[in-house]
């Protein structure tokens, strides 16, 4: 199955991107809490993209830590552009990371819209955390959160 997806994701390089957008929530300790992309067959590549983007997120967080007392902005902006996609990052105060990956052919999305997507995501995430039956650190399994993410994907995809 996975060998299969590797091949498919290589095929994905040929200009026909199989996912338009993907959303991921990463725990403080950098393991995934929630990962969702539009097309499931290139899920693996999406995982890799999110994982590698953590390098930049970590670097940005540590750069802020050096100058004490300065209020960090949660939105980290465009992490890095590549040929095929753009990766945006957002870090909550508890160091939970949100990553949104957008196809680079999608030029209609502006920075402001990405920001508001993150804010929406953060609100929904806070709701999940407020659920007394949710154990922080466990993968997110919430219909409401799913709904919000699906809404964003429809909107942007």
């Amino acid at each position: 199955m996975f060998g299969d997806s590797i091949r498919k994701c290589l095929a994905g390089l040929q200009g026909t991107q199989t996912w338009r957008v993907g959303i991921a929530v990463i725990a403080k300790e950098n393991y995934p809490l929630y990962i969702r992309s539009v097309a499931s067959q290139s899920e693996l590549k999406f995982h890799y993209t999110v994982h590698t983007s953590l390098d930049v997120v970590e670097e940005k967080i540590s750069a802020v830590g050096k100058s004490l007392g300065d209020q960090r902005e949660l939105y980290l902006g465009l992490l890095y552009p590549t040929e095929d996609y753009k990766v945006y990052g957002y870090v909550t105060n508890s160091k939970v990371k949100f990553v949104i990956v957008v196809d680079s052919s999608n030029t209609s999305l502006r920075d402001n819209e990405i920001r508001s997507m993150f804010r929406k995501l953060h609100n929904s995430f806070t709701d999940v955390m407020c659920n007394p039956f949710h154990n922080p650190g466990d993968p997110i399994q919430s219909k409401a959160f799913d709904g919000i993410v699906s809404g964003m994907m429809v909107q942007t995809g």
Binding site: G3, L13, Q14, I35, H51, T52, D55, E59, P132
Partner: protein, 1126 residues
């Protein structure tokens, strides 16, 4: 790596430098010429002008210049840029030809030489027919030239030579072959550089002048070509700003060309060249952002220009090369001082290049399958040798129209290219690019990106069938994904690694990856897990496991052979796997059920096993290894015919082990060193899975943390609570609990210096005899060092112990203690200083016991500590006063005075003062002859807290001996008090506490006057008073005495007298006073004056020993008299 058609030509990538040809130098045989040539070549550092020199023969044939076109009207260009053009201007057509000629101004055959030189110049000129190349002559001379203008012969001959050679004066140089060769050479080359500059300037002008003849329909290619040429000449001229401008124009013109399938490769090739030049110049101008922007634009423009679908791999190859070249340029700029950042570094370009190479490989695999036979007349073979124009097809060079001239030829050309592509070592290219990218990302702190690329490298090695390398890389990065808990990625890597391991026939790796893919970190579905488990079982059964799906069929056969070989060996094959650093499908957690055990208790170990696989697994043996290997025999569980250990999926199984600790291990730690689980069995494959310590794996720590955070704790069974199970890998063996009681009775606080009694009662509650009971009592070690020097412990309470007694009494034998009996003993402690102390009472004994039917000699002990405060029993104050109870600040010599001591009890217990004594120094009792020893006034006095006892002693300083200093204070002695607690028994020792009497300065009294006065007088009754005046000096003293009148007294005697007293003698003066008033009355004042020594003894000083007042009783009745007498 061999050069491929996609590599940029070296003449494009080098830095263009002006080309100057040197002729007439014989560098092989002529030493002077050699030296000149070396001076030109050697040490070409950045501060020298950028010229590339070449030595050519005088009759060297330069490339022929084609006749210049006068009209472009009917001219149709065949391509954009000729392949030879750049090289021609870099290495073949010089900007300047310099002719070296040996000729001194005063050469005897000047005429002949001059014409020879002219001939040589003419030869060069002819060869350069039609070109604008300059010619210059350098005369190599042996003599140092005179300053200009002084050598008339020289200037005259120079001008004739110029005329003969048709040279301008500026093109004739003289090179004296003397000491300063390098200096002359540098001046020469600067002059050459000027000439070259002019040459390239005119070349640019020439190319520019063509522009007006061109029209936009047919000569589009020429627009590009001319701009490129101008840019290139500018570069040769070192005018990089203009070069960049021309290249930019050229670049935009390239994209204005009409593209169609036949010319798209040529356009892309040229666009790539020009882009390379632009980026290179931007980096050189230190504007890296411009370079990046240009590159992005270039990629965006060219990305979609794929061209012929059958040759799509060519586009990918070209794209890959674009990224790679840019990455190299970027990297080079960094080496020259540019700083890159994490999100903008050459790694991204190498990565993208690799990604396009992967794409190329995919397309090549898809497109090149069909081609079978290489076409018979090789369409790629070019008889002329190479292409005329960059980016054209060999089978239709110069063809510029939209349709290919010959469809057959076109087809065979494509087939030839496809077949050629099949032989390209794609994986090699991809791996090289990936490893470049890995190096960059490592430098710019992107560990995850690095891991990702290494996974790709591993996969590429797998595709290239280098399984060993693939496995090494994958295994290396796997642990990063495992520890960071990206299990989907881990599963995908494991899947590839499993295939590699199978194809290599590596049993160990194969088994390990199977175990992890069956585990909970694997995201495979049940069907896949079942298949892997079946293979895993086959390994245990020593059979060949099935090939992994998607394995290359050609490799499968070879791998099967490997597996057959390794299963063919008979006998039991053991395979040890340590799985702690993985996430295996069998989980193991071990624990001692308590962090400590008493030596007479059974030590209990629990081992929990759980299988996450899809089917039950049977285990042949489970064993725990402990730090003391003697216990290992008790911790083994084996599967037998009757008792089969099977782990059911998701159902934890508990194994209990127990053993009795050895007495030597008391106070030591027992640790689990490993837990081993054996799968499979004899004559098959025996798989030993081991965990270090108490088990657990990479994921279990996180799971335990999550479980501890979870709020859902109610109603949990072991299945759901598996994550909560904590490991306990060690336990402490502690001694048996003593069953005795230790009671201490004492009366705190302790008093300083007393023998403080502590009664100890040891009561046995044991069932057997407590043997060899020993007591250790005293100051607890580890307190302030001063305390151990001021505390003394003894068992003997009958006398006060001395300084030899230790602070802690060790191992006092108390004998055996039978069940229910008790032992009593007392310990005495003497504390010399106040403060609080901690005392330790430690009773140890041995006991014979039975643990699980085994006799065991246990040592038990019980400790008790108490804190005792030590206080002073009483405070003593001492003072010296005169006989008139006036405070003394000096002690008068040989005159009686008083010592008063106050003893104030501060003890909360009643004190019995048995006696006191004085040890005097320099002092005696007031009448030493009569009473040499003073009697104590506090014999057997009991003081309660706060009560005070006072004693008074009359003392006297003996007369001063000559050697006693009279000015310094003198020690006066000690005051000793003997005492004990009233409550202590009468035979308990008395404690003597010593106090030092205050030191005093002795005061000699030269003339001593005292009075003999009755204790009282009576009104109107005679009161005889006798004054004694004693001369203690060695001289006769004259004394004037007068008695002043007083209201209260009448008196008889000498009112005023003057007398002389001899040394050592005494004068008595008798007065009869007659009191007139009752009550306390001041005696008539006696004025004494020593006229001989008025300073030392004022009247007041002399009078101080005299009584001042006296009590006068009123005149009474005779009856009263009686009562008073009574």
């Amino acid at each position: 790596m061999a050069t491929s058609q996609w590599d940029l030509p070296p003449e494009l990538c080098c830095r263009p430098m002006a080309f100057v040809a040197l002729t007439g130098l014989d560098v092989t045989y002529n030493a002077v010429h050699r030296a000149i040539w070396d001076a030109f070549c050697a040490n070409r550092r950045a501060d020298r002008v950028p010229i590339s020199f070449k030595v050519l023969l005088g009759d060297h044939e330069y490339p022929k210049c084609r006749t210049k076109r006068t009209s472009y009207e009917w001219y149709i260009p065949k391509g954009i840029l000729k392949t030879g053009w750049m090289n021609k201007h870099l290495n073949l057509v010089p900007a300047l030809v310099v002719l070296f000629y040996e000729l001194d101004w005063d050469h005897p055959q000047w005429k002949e030489k001059q014409s020879e030189c002219a001939t040589k110049v003419e030869i060069v000129r002819t060869s350069l027919q039609g070109r604008n190349t300059k010619v210059a002559v350098v005369l190599i001379q042996k003599k140092t030239p005179l300053p200009p203008g002084e050598d008339l012969v020289a200037s005259e001959r120079a001008s004739t030579l110029c005329n003969a050679c048709d040279l301008s004066g500026k093109s004739l140089f003289v090179l004296p072959h003397t000491d300063h060769l390098v200096g002359y050479i540098i001046r020469l080359e600067n002059a050459f550089y000027e000439h070259a500059h002019t040459y390239y300037y005119t070349e640019i002008r020439r190319v520019k002048s063509h522009k007006e003849f061109l029209n936009k329909t047919t000569h589009q290619l020429l627009f590009v070509r001319h701009q490129f040429k101008m840019a290139f000449f500018s570069e040769l001229k070192q005018d990089t700003q203009n070069a960049l401008k021309y290249y930019r124009t050229s670049y935009s013109l390239v994209h204005e060309l009409r593209t169609h399938e036949t010319n798209i490769l040529e356009i892309k090739t040229l666009a790539g060249f020009i882009n390379y030049k632009i980026c290179r110049l931007c980096f050189q101008h230190n504007t890296p952002l411009d370079a990046i922007a240009q590159f992005r634009k270039h990629i965006d423009l060219c990305k979609k220009k794929i061209g012929s679908a059958e040759l799509a791999f060519e586009h990918a190859a070209w794209m890959s090369k674009q990224f790679q070249s840019f990455g190299e340029l970027f990297d080079e700029a960094i080496k020259l001082g540019l700083t890159a950042i994490q999100t903008q570094n050459p790694g991204f370009y190498y990565q993208q290049a690799a990604s396009y190479s992967q794409e190329r490989k995919q397309q090549a695999q898809q497109l090149c399958q069909a081609a079978v036979n290489y076409p018979a007349p090789n369409p790629l073979d070019n008889l002329i040798g190479g292409l005329d124009f960059y980016g054209q097809r060999p089978w239709r060079q110069g063809h510029q129209s939209i349709d290919p001239p010959d469809t057959e030829k076109e087809k065979s050309g494509i087939v030839a290219l496809q077949i050629k592509e099949r032989n390209v070592p794609h994986s090699e290219l991809i791996i090289a690019l990936l490893s470049n990218a890995v190096a960059q990302f490592k430098k710019y702190k992107c560990p995850r990106m690095k891991s990702h690329l290494m996974v790709q490298m591993g996969e590429e090695y797998y595709h290239a069938k280098d399984f060993a390398k693939a496995l090494k890389l994958l295994d290396y990065v796997m642990c990063d994904y495992r520890t960071e808990r990206w299990f989907a990625l881990l599963t995908s890597i494991l899947t590839v690694a499993l295939r590699c391991a199978w194809l290599m026939g590596s049993v160990r790796d194969y088994t390990l990856y199977c175990m992890e893919l069956l585990g909970r970190a694997s995201t495979l579905n049940d069907e896949q897990k079942s298949r892997i488990e079946k293979n895993f079982m086959k390994v245990l059964e020593n059979e060949v496991p099935d090939a992994e799906p998607e394995c290359d069929p050609s490799s499968v056969n070879a791998a099967t052979a490997l597996w057959n070989d390794c299963t063919a060996v008979t006998g039991t094959k053991e395979l040890h796997l340590e799985v702690q650093d993985y996430v295996p499908f069998i989980q193991c957690k071990g624990r001692f059920i308590s962090p400590s055990f008493h030596v007479d208790q059974l030590i209990l170990i629990q081992v929990f096993l759980r299988s996450d696989g899809p089917h039950p697994v049977s285990v042949s043996k489970l064993s725990v290894s402990l730090s003391n290997q003697d216990y290992n025999q008790w911790c083994v569980e084996e599967s037998t015919a009757h008792h089969n250990i099977t782990l059911f999926p998701g159902k934890p199984k508990i194994f209990d082990f127990n053993f009795v600790a050895k007495i030597e291990d008391v106070g030591k730690k027992i640790e689990m060193t490993s837990i081993e689980l054996m799968l499979g069995g004899a004559n098959r494959r025996l798989l030993v899975v081991s965990w270090r310590g108490a088990g657990g794996d990479v994921a279990s720590a996180h799971e335990a943390l999550q479980a501890s955070r979870s709020s859902r704790r109610w109603g949990r069974s072991l299945e759901t609570d598996w994550d909560c199970l904590s490991l306990q890998n060690s336990t402490m063996i502690i001694s048996r609990v003593p069953k005795i009681s230790l009671q201490l009775s004492h009366q705190p606080p302790a008093l300083t210096n007393e023998m403080y009694c502590i009664n100890i009662t040891v009561q046995s509650h044991e069932e057997g005899v407590a043997k060899d009971v020993r007591l250790t009592a005293g100051l607890k070690p580890g307190q302030d060092a001063n305390l151990s020097q001021t505390t003394y412990t003894t068992l003997d309470g009958s006398r006060v112990c001395d300084h030899s007694a230790p602070p802690l009494l060790p191992d006092v034998h108390l004998g055996d203690l039978h069940p229910g009996e008790q032992l009593q003993t007392s310990v005495y402690v003497k504390c010399v200083s106040t403060g609080s102390r901690v005392f330790l009472f430690h009773v140890a004994y041995t006991m014979d016991t039975l643990v699980e039917g085994r006799p065991l000699v246990c040592k038990c002990h019980k400790d008790e500590t108490i804190t005792i405060e030590t206080v002073v029993p009483f405070e003593v104050s001492m003072k010296f006063v005169s006989t008139k109870f006036e405070a003394l600040d000096q002690l008068p010599v040989d005159i009686p005075f008083l010592l008063i001591t106050d003893i104030l009890s501060s003890s909360s217990w009643p004190l019995l003062l048995t006696s006191s004594s004085l040890q005097l120094l320099h002092l005696t009792t007031s009448a030493p002859q009569l009473d040499p020893q003073l009697n104590s006034q506090i014999h057997r006095v009991v003081l309660q807290k706060g009560e005070c006892a006072t004693e008074c002693f009359c003392l006297r300083c003996p007369p001063l001996t000559s050697n006693t200093s009279s000015t310094s204070p003198v020690a006066t002695g000690h005051y000793l008090i003997s005492w004990r607690r009233q409550s202590s028994c009468s035979d308990s020792p008395q404690i003597t506490t010593s106090f030092t009497l205050p030191a005093f300065v002795m005061e000699p009294v030269p003339v001593y006057i005292n009075a003999d006065v009755p204790s009282f007088g009576r009104v109107r009754e005679s009161l005889p008073v006798c004054y004694y005046i004693e001369n203690r000096t060695a001289l006769a003293q004259e004394v004037e005495m007068a008695v002043e009148p007083s209201e209260a007294f009448m008196f008889s005697g000498l009112k005023q007298v003057r007398l002389r007293i001899l040394p050592g003698s005494k004068q008595q003066m008798l007065y009869n006073y007659y009191p007139l008033m009752a009550g306390y009355q001041t005696l008539p004042q006696l004025n004494v004056v020593l006229p001989r020594c008025p300073s030392s003894s004022s009247s007041h000083a002399l009078r101080r020993f005299l009584p001042q007042r006296i009590f006068i009783k009123p005149q009474g009745q005779p009856a009263d008299d009686v009562s008073i007498a009574a």
